[in-house]
């Protein structure tokens, strides 16, 4: 009788593929980008998408140990702790991390590697405000009667930007966040289930009546790039002091058969080739500090110097309690 061989912890010979990259639906890169990796290493990349971030992480947790692929890209800091607690990833410290700001490196043991980030911020319709009637500049402004019935947000129990905005208010007000939301409710905030029905339904941009919406720091460049007819400047602005930073990570999935190839792929995700391809395909910002940005991002985005953030562990420990409390305060 043959006994099961203990797999060797170190792969012999050159890394082999193909390596499978699991991503969320919003992932895409230009043609030729992943091919550059294959040309360089001889390893083919197979892409698999698995729903939005929540679906992808839940699916990965259900298949822990028998993963659908070798590397997962797209888990963000609001889902990170759940993925780490489930033991989804193997530790890997990429040499390319040297070029990434430490503020984005949220797992000190390097089970995941930051790849890009995006800020969830209030956006406003510029034409609806002027010098006498200025746009809000802080979270506190939103409870001012001057902004009554102007704000639309997403439900944090069903929407990722909705959750990020709730976290921004918790980071700002601490225990006082409940009173803040009660005041927002009194000031006529409207809540939608998702980003689409907020932006395209209630916000001025989609034909709605409300001039302030929770969206992204990268929304104004998108309003220019995908304008119809073309415009020179975006019709929307970002309230820079209201941003919550979402960081997206990649990790090597525990149980991979292609560990060495997976390491090379993670390194590649932090290479300038991949990093500079991120903004226009995914409307996120490259984690690599030296990566060049496309002109629309240079012209129309001013990133917050000190965005709101919370520890992934704190988010995971409290999110269900917070969102339940939020539901009672805002919706009941």
């Amino acid at each position: 009788m043959a006994t099961t061989a203990v797999p060797s912890p170190v792969e012999e010979g050159p890394p082999t593929g193909p390596v499978t990259l699991i991503t969320h639906d919003s992932f895409w890169v230009s043609e030729g980008t992943l091919e550059a990796f294959t040309a360089e290493t001889g390893i083919e990349v197979v892409l698999q998408t698995a729903g939005d971030t929540g679906q992808m992480v839940s699916a990965a947790i259900l298949t822990t140990g028998d993963p659908l692929g070798d590397v997962m890209f797209g888990v963000d800091n609001t889902f990170l702790q759940r993925a780490l607690d489930a033991g989804l990833f193997e530790t890997y410290e990429s040499p390319a991390l040297a070029g990434v700001p430490t503020s984005l490196q949220l797992d000190p043991t390097n089970r995941v590697t930051p790849i890009d980030f995006g800020d969830v911020c209030l956006n406003y319709w510029i034409d609806r405000f002027d010098v006498d009637d200025p746009a809000p500049s802080t979270l506190a402004d939103l409870v001012d009667p001057a902004y009554a019935d102007q704000l639309v947000v997403q439900n944090p129990e069903t929407s990722s930007p909705g959750l990020a905005f709730l976290l921004a208010t918790i980071a700002e007000y601490g225990d006082g966040w409940e009173d803040y939301w009660a005041a927002l409710r009194d000031n006529g905030v409207v809540v939608t289930a998702g980003w689409e029905d907020a932006y395209w339904g209630e916000f001025v941009s989609g034909g709605g009546s409300r001039p302030i919406v929770v969206s992204y720091a990268s929304s104004p460049p998108a309003e220019v790039i995908y304008a119809d007819p073309p415009v020179d400047t975006p019709p929307t602005g970002v309230v820079t002091d209201t941003c919550f930073r979402q960081v997206e990570f990649a990790g090597i999935l525990a149980g991979t058969d292609h560990r060495a190839a997976a390491e090379l792929l993670v390194d590649f995700l932090l290479s300038p080739t991949f990093q500079e391809d991120i903004p226009l395909n995914m409307f996120m910002f490259p984690a690599l500090a030296s990566a060049a940005l496309p002109q629309a991002f240079v012209d129309f985005v001013r990133l917050a110097d000190d965005p709101y953030m919370l520890e992934p562990a704190e988010i995971e420990a409290n999110r269900n309690a917070w969102t339940e409390r939020w539901t009672e305060i805002v919706l009941r």
């Binding site: 699991i22 991503t23 639906d25 919003s26 992932f27 895409w28 230009s30 197979v46 892409l47 698999q48 998408t49 698995a50 729903g51 939005d52 929540g54 679906q55 992480v57 839940s58 699916a59 947790i61 259900l62 298949t63 028998d66 659908l68 759940r82 439900n155 129990e157 069903t158 809540v191 939608t192 289930a193 998702g194 980003w195 689409e196 029905d197 932006y199 395209w200 339904g201 941009s205 989609g206 034909g207 969206s215 929304s219 104004p220 998108a222 309003e223 790039i225 995908y226 304008a227 119809d228 007819p229 019709p235 929307t236 226009l280 395909n281 995914m282 409307f283 269900n320 919706l331 009941r332």
Partner: protein, 533 residues
């Protein structure tokens, strides 16, 4: 044998085993304890009550709104009959995010977004959207059956002095009942497991079992609670299907296909009967078409075909062009429909002519996928179909299989009432004349059932073209984007051009659906003509 084995195998491998696996996993992490705790929670009772009553109300409304149209389709001849039939199927393929937007814009325009008649973020909006989506099921299922119903008994009743109402109430309705029950059971299941409509149109305070399963499984990562809710949902759906099937069996009556010339419908009759339908279906669709043709904002707004022209080009955000996504969707729909017609057709024969127990089990089991949540089926497939010989979780064929699961009930609910109603004297005559049972099936049953098979097939096709929920859970290569997924991605980024393109894609999807339905049913009709006696 194959009649039993193919549907049974299909259901077991692609539904029972995956759903069983995920439920077992959830029970392993405390699902049963959560289940025991549910009835004591007021919020849970509220969710169950709301899920149930909105589904009942939506179903009743859909039947009422569809009724005059179904009568007209069955009993009158008029220009554009086939087109109306096909057009009514169109809402099926529209993603809820698009329909939700169209309804909100419509409410705004006709003054229902505020004030005492406010519909925005109310149950009223949910009901209106459910009627919009499901009216076609009643219209078609009941209409097709009605059309095949011999009208002479009514005429005899009228000659004997019955009023039109009496003739309808005591002669027509009892015979129509199986088809009404069949259509209503499908509509009910659709509304019972409705997801996008509830979230987008109902406002943030409304929840159903389906949205709660999703919220717990995906957003909160609480598999135990999600499992408990999924069990409640499955039990409720099973009970409902058992009751509905019993109603359909009890009321089945014999019918003989008759060829006759239908009276032509007058203009006033047409307008009266179709007015409501045109309002419910037409207005939201008109809003979509208008949006797809508009470009620019405010003072710069203009009519153009730009959004349609853009469909051929890939935008940076998408792996393929919108047209490429449409091609994928068509391919998936062809495979899914083939599967659904095969499995559903065989299963229908078993339900009508098979052994009693097998018949009841098939009638129940193959309906269940319609009432199971996309989360349960999607995640179930992921953890169950992971080992040879069923290592299918990354297979491209899993998407059409998931679509076929939802298409099979449509095929069965149109074919079973028709097969049941075939006059047994017809079959006996064939047998007396020396036809073998197989020959009877081929020469008597098949031609009569062909039209019903085509109607069911057309529905499966439309369902597959528009499916979003289950598809989004299944892993796939980015290139295999379907049209509804592409549409959702286009709407996920700001920019007027992207929204315009999304609207144009929705309209193309509608036209494609109508065309496919016309083609599939045309084929079914030709098959049926050969069988006329």
């Amino acid at each position: 044998m194959l009649c039993v084995a193919i549907p049974a195998g299909f259901l077991a491998v692609f539904f029972l085993y995956p759903v069983g696996s995920i439920l077992v996993r959830g029970i392993g992490v405390g699902g049963l304890e959560r289940l025991a705790g549910l009835p004591g929670r007021a919020s849970f009772r509220g969710v169950v009550w709301f899920t149930l009553w909105q589904a009942v109300a939506s179903t009743a409304l859909a039947v009422l709104v569809a009724w005059p149209g179904a009568h007209l389709l069955a009993r009158r001849r008029f220009r554009g009959r086939a087109v109306l039939r096909a057009a009514a199927t169109v809402p099926f393929v529209l993603p809820t995010v698009v329909v939700g937007g169209a309804f909100l814009a419509l409410f705004e325009r006709i003054g229902l977004s505020d004030g005492p008649l406010r519909l925005t973020r109310t149950v009223g909006a949910i009901l209106a959207a459910h009627v919009f989506f499901n009216v076609a099921i009643v219209l078609r299922t009941v209409g097709t059956f009605w059309e095949g119903l011999d009208s002479r008994p009514e005429e005899q009743a009228r000659v004997l002095g019955a009023t039109p109402w009496q003739a309808f109430r005591w002669v027509t309705l009892p015979r129509l009942w199986p088809a009404v029950a069949a259509a209503a059971s499908i509509v009910f299941l659709f509304c019972f497991t409705s997801f996008g409509v509830i979230l987008i149109l109902g406002g943030p305070t409304r929840a159903t079992l389906e949205t709660e399963v999703w919220r717990h499984a995906v957003f909160r990562g609480d598999l135990a609670s999600a499992t408990a809710l999924a069990v409640v949902q499955l039990v409720a759906v099973t009970a409902m299907v058992v009751v509905a099937n019993r109603m359909q069996r009890r009321r089945a009556v014999g019918q003989r296909p008759v060829r006759r010339v239908l009276p032509r419908a007058g203009g006033r009759l047409l307008a009266g009967n179709l007015g409501l339908l045109a309002l419910v279906l037409g207005l939201p669709i008109a809003v979509l078409v208008e949006r797809s043709l508009a470009s620019g904002r405010g003072a710069d707004a203009a009519w153009s075909m730009r959004n349609y022209a853009a469909l051929a080009d890939r935008v940076d955000l998408l792996p393929i062009s919108a047209l490429g996504a449409l091609r994928n969707s068509l391919l998936f729909a062809v495979v899914a429909t083939g599967l659904a017609v095969l499995v559903g057709g065989l299963a229908s024969v078993v339900v009508v002519h098979g052994r009693r127990t097998t018949s009841r089990l098939f009638d129940l089991g193959l309906m269940l996928p319609l009432g199971a949540s996309a989360v349960t089926v999607g995640f179930g497939m992921l953890i169950a179909l992971d080992e040879p010989p069923l290592d299918l979780r990354s297979s491209r064929w899993l998407v059409p299989v998931a679509h076929a699961l939802i298409g099979v009930p449509f095929v069965m609910r149109t074919v079973v009432p028709t097969l049941r109603s075939i006059d047994h004297r017809l079959r006996e005559a064939a047998a007396v004349l020396g036809a073998s049972p197989a020959r009877v099936r081929r020469d008597v049953d098949l031609p009569i059932a062909a039209r019903a098979l085509a109607v069911g097939g057309a529905f499966s096709f439309a369902v597959s073209l528009g499916e979003f929920g289950a598809t989004s859970f299944l892993p796939r290569h980015p290139d295999r984007l379907t049209a509804p997924l592409a549409l959702f991605r286009l709407l996920g980024t700001p920019g007027e051009a992207l929204r315009g393109q999304a609207m144009a894609l929705a309209v193309v999807l509608m036209v494609l659906t109508a065309a496919s339905v016309l083609a599939i049913e045309g084929w079914g009709r030709r098959g049926a003509v050969r069988g006329d006696l």
